[in-house]
Symmetry: C2
């Protein structure tokens, strides 16, 4: 039991975490990942994404026996059939799950025990660009607000510093805050 | 039956679509939406997002009787328990479902019948920023490649023009390609 308490904090294997960081420090090619998704349209706004394999840590990952399935749709007011959250809601999920994992991993690395952690997110969007009525408003979110709630054994200053560090290193926050080049190609 | 064939294309209520656009043209405040998500950390990299209410078209939406639930996690190689796709994979889902809905809605508005539509997405990411080993590489995707496949009754030039239009008006593509301000606040 004492081994477990030493190596696992917040459900994170801290020895594994340190081992991974050391391995990447020795060979930076292990840090190269390619993530993938496949999406099939169903009907109307409803489409279905499957996510399974990826490349990383120097090899193809085969740990997932079955693909994860995510439904995308729109609510009735946006002419969909409400079989899943819409695409911009899925962005909020991506951001929240990134901040959660980043917070918990870095807390574990610093020996901070997290008791609970939650996020509330709001994004403001003007639909006029999407429906073709304005070229002045942007199609995406004008802004996103994230509110964290944390219970932990660390003083507030340490939690605030951790919160800032997580923001500086969060993949999804970077994707949203900064430009990412995207190429879109119609297959022959 | 003839009414149905006239008003529904690709599973989209075209009269409803035109009605929505006309209503927004008369009153642009109807285009203002606020989308929301709530995320609770579970353990390790695993967190759970719930998505239900939003504001839009001048009122709070109450059409969803139950929240949608999305799991976020990491695979074992990234020290998670593989209970769901990770955050950057969720970004690919958000992008695909946005492009799918945008394509199908605009095809319907133009009278193009879509027989099938699918997307393959790949994103390249260097993990060194996330694990704190580099401030030179960005935490997020260096780039994303999207490949579309479409079967429809329209000639390829029209499909290509539609594909371009969808890119110009896609909310999630805009969010990824261009900066979005995000405020992150730790609640008292």
């Amino acid at each position: 039991m004492s081994v477990l308490t030493r190596t696992e904090i917040n459900g994170v294997n801290v020895d594994g975490l340190v081992g991974t960081i050391n391995a990447i420090e020795r060979d930076s090619s292990l840090a190269r990942f390619q993530f993938r998704a496949h999406n099939e349209w169903v009907s109307g706004a409803h489409s279905r994404t499957t996510i399974q394999g990826f490349y990383g840590a120097g090899q193809e990952d085969t740990s997932r026996r079955q693909p994860f399935t995510l439904e995308g749709d729109e609510p009735a007011v946006l002419l969909g059939s409400n079989t899943g959250p819409n695409a911009v809601e899925a962005v909020l999920h991506a951001l929240a799950s990134c901040l959660a994992a980043g917070f918990v991993y870095n807390a574990a690395a610093q020996g901070i025990n997290v008791e609970s952690l939650s996020f509330d997110l709001e994004g403001e969007l003007d639909l006029r660009a999407f429906v073709g009525l304005s070229k002045d408003v942007r199609p995406g979110y004008e802004g996103i607000r994230v509110t964290y709630r944390v219970k932990s054994d660390a003083p507030r200053e340490r939690v605030e510093a951790l919160c800032q560090y997580v923001q500086d290193t969060s993949p999804v926050l970077d994707i949203i805050r900064n430009p990412v080049p995207v190429t879109v190609r119609l297959a022959r």
